[in-house]
Amino acid sequence: MEFFSKGIIYNFMKYARVFVATTLLLAFVSLILVFTKGFNYGVDFVGGTVVQLKYEQSAPIDKIRDDLAKDKLFAGALITEFGSPEEIVIRFSTVSDSVAQDIGDHIRTLLKDTGSFDIRKVDIVGPKIGSELRSKGIISAVLAMIGILIYVAVRFEWKFAIASVITLLHDITITLGAIILFDIEFSLDVLAAVLTLIGYSLNDTIIIFDRIREELEETKNTNFSEIIDICVSKTLSRTIITSLLVFFVVLTLYVFGGEIIHGFSFTMLLGVIIGTYSSIFISAPFLTLIGFNVEKYKANIAIKEKNRIEKNKMRSQYEKGTV
């Protein structure tokens, strides 16, 4: 079976302005969402308590609500069904700092009369831990990006590095915007999904850049837009096959994975689409935007090559003992 057997070179760059403009608009809207509506942080990041209960029969949500209302601790508690009518999740912002007697024990006694249930999960996250998780998450993500920047700069060129990081930031921004738009609770699972799709998108970008690097070495063409078109087209089959595979795997995760990994799989679904779009349409045009110059690049390569040959010459001379 073959999808892209004709070897057509698509003229992506002709529409580069359109894509970049669309993307900037999307990113802008996402930023507005981040700063106005903001994230619906889960307890992982802001602190609070989540209790998950499974009843032997359908959970009597109204009765549970009434019983919880008897205690001020649970004011503002959110009770929602979780996957099936037997299971519910209770969320609230109160935490308790006593090790021996915690809020989970409290709920157990308070809901004694609502039927027989099993406490499946209790998460209590103190506000200090929540903010620590958040700041540490951000710090490690920033450092990871600096690491990527350095690696790509060494293996390619610093302009490639900047373009790849801009593409990453773009993916992150738009995914975060989508997370807010679809009102997904921002939990640790969702963070893991964001990290995963950053990985995929980065890989997509690197593979296209690798092709550009290769093409630059072989071709005499100095029209960078044409080179980009050739390279994106040639890697298109790979980009689409891999992205589709990932998409369908994540889709099975979403369909069969159950409520527990919904946040993760849904974010991944969004992210795969955004990441694929950005590596095909955005990453290479960014290179032209930040002023990548083919002749300069080739001149640099030539100098490097010359140095290398000279070094080898010196070495062989040295080894032969002629120096």
Binding site: E2, S5, D97, S98, A100, I139, S140, I148, I206, I241
Partner: protein
Amino acid sequence: MLSGKISYRLVIFVLAIIFGVGYSLPTFLQSDKGAKIALGLDLQGGLHMVLGVQTEEAIKSKVKSIASSIKFFAQSGDVIIDDLKIDEEMLTFTLLDKDEEKKIDEMLKTISGLQVSKESLRYTLTLNDKEKDLIREYAISQAVETIRNRLDQFGLAEPNVSKQGTDKIVVELPGIKTAEDEQRARELIAKAAHLQLMAVDEKRKDRTTTMSPIEAAQYGDVILPDARSEQVKHILKEIPVLDGSMLSDAKVAFSDMHQPVINFTLNSEGAKIFGDFTANNIGNRLAIVLDNKVYSDPVIRERIGGGSGQISGGFSVKEAHDVAIALRSGALLAPVTLLEKRSVGPSLGADSIQASSIALISGFFLIVGFLILYYHMAGVFASFALFVNFLLLIAIMALFGATLTLPGMAGIVLSLGMAVDANVIINERIRELLRQGIAVRQAVEKGYENAMSAIVDGNLTLAVSSVILYVYGTGPIKGFAISMLIGNLISMLTAILGTHGIYELLMSYIEKNHSIRFWFGMKKRGH
């Protein structure tokens, strides 16, 4: 008969397969022998807690114990001091006889980290910052030790207690089945187990109900509730005769009334102080105080030697058992508070494993199905390499003693995706060359060569970021990063070396066979 070339690539790949199968078997068979992947608490169920340590309390109690020793020194050395008081972290007293100044100064010098200031004969003692830091540090390591001891004696499988950062403790208890057990374990952890033997203030015992705590403090007294009823109060000298640090053993026993009680034994130093005190205070009462509750206050009839005592106070057998454990493993110098708790019931863990296994298996078959449909034999090789990749991942994680968590599974999915991608890149490159009319042997060789830099750079960029995430991230991010890193390195091995080795083995056969469609899934060769 195949007359293929057995290259170093194939040899490494075969060795990797043997290694992968060998070391992943214990995990799949869940056998007791050999290293296997441990499931994280989110998958197998259990209790994970992050505790904070209130180190300031340790400083306060250190000041208290300094007060006790000054008092003991004064009494046994006939140095008369008056008005010995503790105010938070400050200790003050007045020396009555100026001739004793040298004696008391000598004694204070033996206490490390003490800052002494004097105004005529009024002494003010505080601890210096270095000593406070030492106490804080010690309080945390002592809490880790103590909690570990308690949980070991409690009889749960594989409790894990460790220090996190500078001021936190992580407690992990797999294998807790019920909410009741969990609560009992938590109570045991949190129990201060601070045993004090305190003198009853016989002069003011009639005013227990009327005196305010502030007034009591002025007399150097403290009012504590009774263990059986909060309403009943006792008025006691604030500075204890001795405390649980001089305890050498504690055991559950049964009283004459068949009630569970705890018998404790003091060490030699404690026994001496106890003996001296009881000898000097016949007719007075001595209160046995545990965690600021008075359990009993018997009248001293005679000097008690041997240094043993009893705590009785309506314990249940389980409670007595837990209190004895806590006393034996020592008091917590500083109370602990709950910063984070994640408790997953075993049924939820099982659900998580089932859900992610279904997703993993169906995802795997989806990929394999596509690869074979699209690339035919090349897809079969790629699928085989992918399977080996998975085995190796399990094997290496088992060898490292890694714990598999839900975020870790995400990392595995990502790295398997990367492995698929490597195969797709290689096959697309080979097809590209075949379309240009290049001979199969050269197309395969050149295809691998061309694909190499993309695969290496793609994987290494991810490896770089996963190392950084591992080093700087917290718990769940670490789990994600480590499985992604291992997966990345393995996927390069299986995709680049593995399938290439297979092609080298079969190359002469492929060349003879000529069916590009059968081997690479292409319709026809372009020219």
